[in-house]
Symmetry: C2
Subunit: 436 residues, 2 copies
């Protein structure tokens, strides 16, 4: 007999609803001074001592007996071996997922553009891929082959010439599925290093590890802190918070389906957040009943219980319009619109990382193989950021070619504005190009 | 009689060239613990005390006698007044520049897209503008009307409903050109606050200042540090380093023009960097002669001299191919290709914020009115980042609608991959959607 789970209930009609919602969503990343100091020390050691520091930290933190960097490099052949070692079913599933992810991301590729004005002046942007990207893959339990596909494929689609992966192998533990996914995704080089030292190596380069232009991929607090510090030296993706799902249901989906969708988020870790919003108060109770009935059948039931009790909520709203207001307030990473006509509500959704439309579109399908990326903005950052995509591995250069006539005309305007800012060398540089 | 300027000369044929170039480019932003602590204190005060803290900091740091926030708000009427106060010539120049910048940025607007698969599954991305953007404008000498245009216009083109500008007015000093530019660019609200307190107010909101989704615009070390700290709570643009120009010249442009182009960068501040690369060794000396002759005629000659002596270089290369290698190594913010056929070299340029093509395209034309943005990646970050653009004020939501058939097929793949990651609630959520 398991104790019933204590699920938080909120009602948007409650005068204190806004405050309760703020409290529910509040989450701040740990900013620990001692972590900070240790990470800064590690970065400095890798910058100054290169491979020697990498080998030493890997011995110390990952319990490996590697004598030199040569032992921390996995050749392409080793990735191909992993592809043989996994089951045929797993290999087929990885290949299907990779093909779908590749197809979707190819639609994101951006092209150079330009236009010519009447006087012959040409303006535009040249779009080019990054030269080299670094992909961080956690070791141990959070080592996910799907993340390898989701991070590496957009880079390769963008045309990044070299994708370098780092993955720690604590006590020599290697995840064959991760290596197989790297092989399928076209990862070029793999180093079995991790932690802040791997981030530092990718950011600054060592004798063996090439310096990259951008580092992507999830990691623990040391990895996240290191990424924050090297930001500027290299590009980074977002610093991710805990994963969240917001399900909006009209009350007509099987409550067991909704319960399992909420579980799929909660099973990630104790900080993950699952929220259900519905205008149907009875439906919320049916889902609560499903949650209680199904919870004991879950393999990760302890994690799920902690996550749901500390961070989940069932929210009653007056109608779908109010549900959309709640969605936009939360700006969720994952939004399931488990309703009859999701399309009609789409124009009302302003902020969400990914929108899963209709009763059949479980978040799990998008996590693995539908095609869109599963690296999404968390903690309300969907207000201003986007899913990881090909555009994160491309950058733009403005193009300006002024014809002699164009330069002469523009020079007059530039001269007035530059003198208004007291930047007279700017003004004179423009004035040289004005025709007599 | 002025002492000749000490200009650094480098030659790419020198075996030590790479090391000299690294040294020339080395620049690290100041990361001062005391600045950090003061900024954290200011942010905390604004978060907890709101307007009261803003008023107090503004009294203390800007020397204003404001008794309440009401005195730190400029109504739209005040912006219109500024438009009347500037000269007709200045107003026309601002309007010409704004129209050109708007036209160019309209080409950057990105649209939602989707595609439908054979089984009825729909995939795509919904592109939406940010709700609200914050624009920081420095006070005093570095208060540039052109920056107001360059930051506000892309936001308005993206469809951002509200652009909030903050600009400190130390000792009551107001820049009418800045307010006029704000009026023309369509800025919605202006607060006369600045420093870390203004950044904190935009990030968290106060009783009077609305919370924004992204903060853009340049600022001093307090502003930059505050932006770094609020990153994640809101989006931010890049933390800019000193401005730089790299001019590549085939030796056929008037050396006075090139000297003035280099000056236009150096006059920004002592840390600004101006570099000239040419395969023509004599031409480098002609430009040095022009620099020495023209320097005494500059209004900002002291700043220019310091900048050139500490950070400039004349670099001799074997040929244009080697010049391009140097460009890609530097990844300059501004690149002038002052050569006969700039188009032919474009495919060789992999990294640059903006490329000014041909002898007539002075950087100053792009700084003010050609159309492209003048907010560009500095310090080599053009390797992985882009000019400020409309895309910085739009974000994407992935769209996934699975038909019942699509969900059934995808569910099989998702199930295998989820079980491979030991995420069995994910697997079961997908399996619910598999048809019998």
């Amino acid at each position: 007999m398991t104790a019933p789970i204590a699920l938080r209930r909120l009602d948007a009609a409650d005068p204190d609803f806004a405050r309760h919602l703020d409290h529910l969503l509040s989450w701040e990343s740990v900013s620990d001074t001692s972590v900070n100091q240790r990470v800064l020390g590690i970065i400095e050691a890798v910058r100054t001592q290169g491979d020697a520091a990498l080998v030493e930290f890997t011995q110390r933190f990952d319990g490996l007996n590697a004598a030199s960097m040569a032992e921390l490099i996995l050749p392409r052949k080793r990735l191909e071996l992993a592809l043989d070692r996994i089951s045929a079913e797993q290999r087929a599933a990885l290949e299907t997922a990779a093909a779908r992810v590749r197809r979707y991301h190819e639609k994101q590729k951006q092209d150079s553009w330009r236009y010519t004005e009447a006087d012959g002046t040409v303006l535009g942007q040249q779009v080019t891929p990054l030269d080299r990207a670094g992909l961080y893959v956690p070791g141990g339990k959070a080592s996910y082959p799907s993340s390898v596909l989701m991070n590496a494929i957009p880079a390769k689609v963008a045309g990044v010439a070299e994708v370098v992966m780092v993955v720690p192998t604590p006590r020599g533990e290697i995840n064959e599925l991760v290596l197989a996914a790297a092989c399928i995704a076209g990862v070029d080089r793999v180093f079995t290093i991790g932690g802040a030292q791997a981030v530092a190596a990718l950011a600054y380069g060592t004798e063996s590890v090439p310096r990259v232009d951008k580092i992507v991929g999830p990691g623990n607090i040391y990895v996240a802190t290191a990424k924050r510090h090297v930001f500027g030296q290299v590009g980074i993706d977002m610093i991710a918070g805990p994963s969240e799902i917001l399900v909006v249901c009209d009350g007509q989906t099987d409550p067991d389906w909704i319960a399992m969708d909420l579980f799929s988020q909660a099973e990630h870790d104790e900080d993950a957040q699952s929220i259900l919003v519905s205008p149907d108060a009875s439906f919320l109770e049916w889902v609560a009943e499903s949650i209680n009935r199904l919870l004991p059948t879950l393999e990760r039931k302890e994690i799920v219980r902690t996550s749901l009790e500390s961070r989940a909520a069932l929210i009653h709203v007056a109608d779908m319009q109010q549900a959309c207001t709640v969605v936009n307030r939360i700006a969720p990473e994952h939004l399931e619109l488990s309703v009859a006509d999701p399309e009609s509500w789409l124009p009302h959704i302003r902020h969400a990382g990914a929108i899963f439309m209709g009763r059949y579109t479980a978040e799990a399908l998008g996590d693995y193989c539908a095609g869109p990326n599963h690296v999404l903005p968390t903690s309300g950052t969907a207000r201003f950021s986007s899913p990881l995509g090909v555009y994160d591995f491309q950058k733009r250069s403005s193009l300006i070619f002024c014809s002699p006539d164009g330069a002469s005309e523009l020079g007059k305007t530039a001269s007035v504005l530059a003198r208004g800012e007291s930047l007279t060398a700017h003004a004179r540089s423009a004035e040289y190009r004005i025709k007599e």
